[in-house]
């Protein structure tokens, strides 16, 4: 931890509250991610981790709080600042989100074509290099619909890192993949960090993967951060919610008889 104190913070989330309509999804989230670290946000379904990611990407406006990326507050940034920041960020979505109308290579080349004035052959070489990096050499002319789930995720990673971003966001890198492919993607993420010194934020519910790649883990439960710490600290935690998550224990639901009846009959007590 002490080494991180001297590092530059890259993402600073302060007192973030998020709502969908009336429903409070995130409550008072505070999280700092430092240069060059791999931070894993872990939580069960419905814990708010995807919402947290979407806010950090500037895809949603928070109800309150600030999110600073590379020192700029994205909740108050104008279009130009946000545009500049986005050229320094790469995002790999859960199902890849490759554009279905373009080939794999065209997808990976897209950020280069939009943000740089490189010539055609340079763009081609750079995108091929990134596809080789994710072991997709030779698949460049296929359409996304022709790829398997694991290949889509790897192609999405290639597109996310094609601009050599300072910051990489990965949503559920291992969900829906067999353990071998999931482990390969974990290795790939570690390689990317080591080779390109990226700061990486990963959202996942996969324990094995989180412990494998994380420098620090933030545990999210019910829209609140329960704990942030290194892998060992998380393992050693005595918090029941964390232990439930680590030991795959079902939550002990306490039944409020009156509320239960109310839900069944549709009357709010």
């Amino acid at each position: 931890m002490s080494a991180q104190i001297h590092r530059r913070p890259v993402i600073e989330i302060e007192h973030l509250d998020a709502r969908y309509g009336e429903r409070q999804v995130l409550t008072d989230i505070c999280l700092t991610i430092y240069e060059g670290e791999i931070m894993v946000i872990m939580g069960g379904s419905g814990s708010g981790k995807t919402t947290l990611l979407r806010h950090t990407l500037g895809l949603e406006q928070p109800a309150s709080g600030t999110i600073r990326i590379l020192g700029r507050d994205i909740t108050a940034a104008d279009a130009k600042t946000l545009y500049e920041l986005r050229t320094k960020m790469g995002v790999a979505f859960q199902a890849g989100a490759l554009l279905g109308s373009m080939t794999v290579a065209e997808n990976v080349e897209l950020p280069l074509r939009e943000h740089t004035h490189l010539n055609e052959s340079t763009i081609r070489i750079m995108s091929r290099m990134k596809l080789e990096l994710v072991n997709l050499g030779g698949f460049e002319d296929l359409m996304p619909a022709e790829l398997s789930g694991g290949m889509l995720k790897r192609a999405a990673l290639a597109r996310a890192v094609v601009m050599d971003p300072k910051l990489l966001f990965v949503d559920e890198p291992s969900s829906g993949l067999d353990p071998v492919v999931a482990a390969e993607i974990d290795q790939l993420i570690l390689r990317l960090r080591n080779a390109m010194k990226m700061t990486i934020l990963i959202v996942t519910h996969d324990l094995a993967s989180a412990f494998m790649i994380a420098d620090r883990i933030a545990i999210l439960d019910n829209g609140r951060i329960v704990m942030t710490g290194g892998v060992d600290a998380i393992r050693a935690s005595t918090d029941r919610r964390i232990q439930d998550l680590l030991n795959r224990r079902p939550r002990e639901a306490t039944v409020d008889a009156e509320a239960y009846l109310g839900r069944l009959t549709g009357d709010n007590p």
Binding site: Y83, A95, L98, E114
Partner: protein
């Protein structure tokens, strides 16, 4: 009773919201078309051509066929009606006017909204559901510039072009029937048709078609961008988009005919 009034209120607010959204899409598209190059994020000309190809060129066969059929039907009805007054020879006048001012823009508008309006909604809606729109945004590509503006330009150019083509096909269809029925040559029919028409008649059809183009694009896009609820949501949005755009086309046509024909 209270429920009903509440419902009307809610729907009104939602309608106004949607209208606002549609017009903000229009304004933003214009902004990118005008200022995109200055901001170093120009609207891609190649994409505009691609869309124009897809909206316009590939629709030519079906538009030719439908407009010719409508021309034939109009000729049949017109000759039948005019024969009551013994004035069959006046059919040329009526046919040229009604095809150019009314039927060609209307048929083309309805056809393109069914063909391309639905496809716009389905395409954008699927992209929304697959997070492709989010992916564009995080890459730093504004979806309005990248997806909406090219479609708007292509539609506003191609619909008038298709309408002019439809004018010719409608008159041709009517002409073929009339010539057979009244023993005229097609050459005579066309030259008297062109003599009857003035620029203002053709312009009336073209102005309408530009309005229809904006209606189809805005309804198609705003329904697409606001899709939620998976495959079913995309299906619902597509249906809604086609029904709404055809309804608005017919209503706008009525309003424009009233003002332009006085």
């Amino acid at each position: 009773m209270r429920n009903m009034i509440e419902n009307i209120g809610r729907r009104t607010i939602k309608g106004i919201e949607e209208l606002g959204y549609a017009f903000s899409l229009l304004a933003e598209s214009f902004m990118w078309l005008l200022a995109g190059r200055m901001r170093k994020q120009p609207v891609s000309v190649a994409t505009i051509f691609q869309e124009a190809m897809w909206i316009g060129v590939t629709a030519i066969p079906i538009i030719s066929m439908l407009n010719m059929a409508v021309g034939v039907m109009l000729a049949i009805q017109a000759i039948f009606t005019l024969s009551k007054f013994g004035a069959e020879s006046q059919v040329i006048l009526g046919l040229a006017f009604v095809v150019v001012r009314e039927f060609s823009p209307l048929i083309v508008g309805v056809l393109v909204s069914g063909r391309s309006g639905s496809a716009i909604t389905a395409r954008i809606g699927t992209m929304q559901e697959n997070q492709e729109i989010d992916a564009l945004r995080v890459i730093g590509i504004n979806p309005v510039r990248y997806l909406a503006a090219p479609i708007l330009v292509a539609m506003c150019v191609m619909l008038p072009v298709l309408t002019i083509w439809g004018d010719l096909m409608g008159i041709l269809g009517g002409g073929l029937y009339t010539c057979a029925k009244l023993n005229m040559t097609l050459h005579d029919f066309f030259s008297s048709s062109l003599e009857t028409l003035v620029v203002a008649d053709v312009m009336q059809g073209i102005i309408k078609s530009v309005v229809f183009a904006v209606i189809i694009v805005l309804i198609g896009l705003s329904n697409g961008f606001q899709v939620s609820g998976g495959a079913k949501g995309v299906g619902l949005a597509t249906t809604r988009s086609v029904v709404l755009s055809i309804s608005f086309i017919v209503l706008a046509d009525m309003v424009f005919t009233y003002f332009l024909s006085r």
